[in-house]
């Protein structure tokens, strides 16, 4: 049988690693998370000369110390999973800094190929690189690439195969030179480690010796309970203490320094740069974009465009998806069920009201997410994202957040779901989770209809002001919660210092943007559908199940359903907030499915007659035609909405006048439950809708991104917070009024 290989790609952020990965594997990719981590793991494969080669994309890192989660993941993968080789992708235009990681990979004892990428930029900057010298001094094979254009790809594949097949004969040769004292000690420790009796033991002994001398936390933690290394660890500690007292530098700085000196020598001999450091186009653009006066307006302008893309521009497609699912697809399912003689049974009800409604609820988010990912891909690939963090850092810093946290917050005003996915641009896990917990307080678009309905009923004079105040309250709550979390749960540990690379500006390529859009949207649909489907069916079942009266399963008035019973059981909890009716609590439950459903549930529950739309019978072909033509209509609407991107259009959407019957019913219900303080109770209710658990799609997204634990923190924490705030409002308000 042919032997297959597994290789890993390593490289700095922005070195073009994912481009190389995409070029190598094409569509044969699998995107998931590293086990138990919130860091994305990409795996793919390709065939070359009859061999199947699996490619693992390691997280982008600058080094392999245990500094960040990404670095730990990358290092552990190489140490523990032992790929046949690692391709070290190097931004050749920034070769000196990039080689640092390459050196560390070589030190790790794994076969390394140096892939010098971005040779086009190198040429542009009139830099000359002698690749033969690089090979000779680093003792590894090297290839030149322009990954964007697929240049050098075949050479890389060839080199991968050749190196992988030689694996057994690989001899580590480290180019770095340390001071004599240090080198002697390294070799001494190395011998000692090699004497450790164990067949399983397979770390590179020199690497381990260096790590012990550096006092590397990750390595020490791993070896903590291993008696065989106790004496080596002790010796290393004694030596490094003595060494640090003698010289001014710590041993780890000394080692980093030795790597860089070696790199400097290599670069000095193999790379020729024009003498003058040029202030390039990027620097000039940066002076405008990161300008202390212009920076923030430019940033806000771009964020406004992102927000509009995920709301207004995506809206026609959202309606289209909604229409296709609610119209033709539902009709087809009904028609099939009719053929099977299941029409009018609970099966039909479950499929149409549970399954299709639930799956539809997921698919509706696809256009929104694609727009978000389009915007994110452009911002990231062009290099602007790093500048945005730079510009916003001061403001966000006070909240204990990273400058990059601002983008998810803005997107959150459109929809919480893409906002949660937008946290992925944050490098640090802590920042990511904290931002993810705060994002739901940005009032999303779906909550607006609820505010508008209640504000129109109870505050007809000041509708706009009330709605606006809710947005502001959301922001204030986010700031307060952020400050509290920062000083409690997320306290401790050294705060990650704000330092990040600003990659040079580049023109994003269509191919790369499309790849990111497709891949990320796909990941959402795959992950989210199961949780959402289950939730939809549970709520459907509760609505369908009669617990009193004469209705049968799936054909009972809402008031007789298990749903009403559950709502009534919960209702007393809301008495202190002034809306302790089952109608109110019931609509909040369905609000978990999607916030805008609160309004439709109310009209259902208060039994307001809605004019039934009598659907005309259509043929299959007519349906297909309708789907296609409405798609183009949506596309046209989108194009028309592009100018809207610059216009402010938040409160004009008080659209169709709600049926007055519903408004009267709601008013009476709230006045009664609150003892005549309907306006106050309704304000509390709006605050509750603002603050409580986001919709199930957002919850599924949070689980996908941050794991089950943080999902529950978010779900329960927000529920508790919403209850406390709305009760406080009603109680304190009652005293005042």
């Amino acid at each position: 049988m042919e032997k297959n290989f597994t290789i890993a790609l390593a490289g700095n952020p922005n070195c073009g690693k994912s481009t190389v990965f995409n070029q190598l594997t094409g569509t044969k990719q699998h995107v998931g998370n590293w086990p138990g981590k919130t860091v994305e793991k990409k795996e793919g494969s390709f065939q070359y000369k009859g061999k199947q080669i699996t490619v693992v994309d390691l997280p982008g890192t600058y080094s392999l110390t245990a500094y960040s989660l990404e670095e730990v993941i990358a290092r552990d993968y190489v140490i523990k999973e032992k790929p046949d080789l690692v391709v070290s992708i190097i931004d050749a235009a920034n070769i000196e800094r990039n080689l640092y990681l390459t050196m560390q990979l070589i030190e790790l004892g794994v076969p390394v190929i140096a892939a010098l990428n971005m040779m086009d930029v190198v040429k542009e900057r009139e830099i000359q690189i002698d690749v033969e010298k690089i090979k000779k001094t680093l003792h590894v094979p090297a290839v030149l690439m322009v990954a964007r254009d697929g240049e050098g790809l075949d050479a890389l594949k060839e080199s991968i195969l050749a190196t992988a097949e030689l694996k057994g004969k690989y001899q580590k040769q480290v180019p770095a030179q340390f001071s004599r004292d240090l080198e002697v000690e390294i070799q001494k420790l190395q011998k000692k480690i090699e004497c450790v009796p164990d067949g399983e033991f397979s770390l590179d002994s020199r690497w381990l010796a260096i790590k012990l001398l550096e006092g590397d936390k990750g390595v020490l933690d791993d070896l903590e309970n291993d008696n065989r290394f106790a004496s080596s660890i002790k010796e290393a500690q004694t030596f490094s203490q003595a060494y640090e007292e003698k010289s001014e530098m710590g041993i780890d700085t000394e080692i980093a320094d030795a790597y860089y000196s070696t790199i400097h020598e290599i670069v000095a001999s193999a790379v020729k740069k024009p003498k003058v450091k040029k202030i390039g186009f990027s620097d000039k653009l940066d002076r405008i974009v990161t300008h202390r006066v212009l920076g923030i307006p430019i940033f806000l302008g771009l964020m406004w465009i992102v927000f509009k893309l995920t709301s207004d521009v995506a809206a026609p497609f959202l309606d289209w998806v909604d229409g296709v699912i609610g119209g033709p697809i539902t009709n087809w399912v009904e028609a099939i069920l009719n053929l099977l003689n299941l029409s009018g049974t609970w099966v039909e009800s479950m499929l149409v009201d549970g399954v299709i409604a639930g799956v539809g609820g997921v698919l509706v988010f696809v256009p929104v997410l694609m727009m978000l990912y389009l915007a994110l891909a452009v911002l990231e690939d062009s290099g602007y994202m790093a500048r945005a963090a730079f510009v916003m850092d001061r403001l966000m810093h006070g909240l204990g957040l990273h400058g990059k946290s601002f983008l998810p917050m803005i997107v959150g005003f459109g929809c919480t779901v893409p906002a949660i996915y937008a946290t992925r641009t944050l490098e640090n896990e802590k920042d990511r989770i904290l931002t993810g917990l705060l994002v739901p307080f940005m009032s999303c678009g779906a909550r607006l209809p609820v505010y508008v309905l209640f504000a129109t009923i109870f505050f007809p004079e000041n509708t706009g002001l009330v709605v606006f105040s809710l947005y502001v309250i959301g922001i204030v709550v986010a700031i307060l919660v952020g400050l509290i979390l920062k000083n409690t749960v997320f306290k401790g540990g050294e705060a990650s210092p704000f330092v990040m690379e600003l990659p040079p500006y580049r023109r994003p390529t269509l191919k790369s943007i499309w790849a990111q859009m497709a891949e990320r949207t796909n990941a959402f649909v795959k992950k989210a559908w199961s949780l959402i489907l289950v939730t939809s069916i549970v709520i459907w079942a509760l609505l369908a199940l009669p617990v009193k009266g004469e209705g049968t399963f799936a054909d009972a008035p809402v008031g007789d359903s298990a749903f009403a019973a559950v709502s009534s059981a919960i209702a007393p909890a809301f008495e202190p907030a002034g809306f302790g009716t089952w109608e109110a609590s019931g609509s909040l439950i369905t609000g978990f499915v999607a916030k805008e459903v609160v309004v439709s549930t109310m009209s259902q529950i208060y039994d307001v007659e809605e004019a039934e739309e009598e659907a005309e019978a259509t043929t299959f072909l007519e349906d297909i035609w309708e789907i296609i033509s409405s798609f183009f209509a949506a596309a046209w609407d989108t194009i028309k909405s592009v100018p809207l991107v610059v216009g402010i259009n938040l409160f004009d959407e008080e659209d169709e006048a709600e049926p007055t019957a519903l408004m009267t019913a709601v008013r009476e219900g709230f006045e009664e439950s609150s003892g005549g303080r309907g306006a106050l109770a309704s304000f509390g209710f709006m605050i509750f809708v603002l603050l409580y658990t986001p919709c199930m799609v957002a919850v599924a997204a949070a689980k996908h991104e941050f794991g089950a634990k943080w999902m529950w923190v978010s779900v329960i924490g927000q529920l508790a917070l919403a209850w406390i705030v709305s009760v406080l409002i009603f109680q304190i308000g009652s005293l005042v009024i």
Partner: protein
Amino acid sequence: MMPLSFAPEGQLLKLVSIRGGWRVQKRLNALGLTPGTEVMIVSQNPGGPIILAVKDSRLAIGRGLLHHIQVEMDGSSQYETEIMDHRFSRFHHARGRSHRRFGDYHG
């Protein structure tokens, strides 16, 4: 010798030392900042982070970190400082003016 927070813009500087915890050291090392490295402030915002040219990359560094990084003016540079100065001079003037404006506002 001075902390990076007081260093002038557009001048070649040589990094002398980095103070601070293990994580800060490691992080800055990995990004190419070790003693002896030549750096240059490309732009700065009062109170905000700066953009620093390190090797062939640009780093954004927060104010809090700047005090930890000691630098000195670099006379014996491998680059042609004169040309650099010339390139930056126009920008410098603009900056000086706005600093005064900033001061007036406070005064």
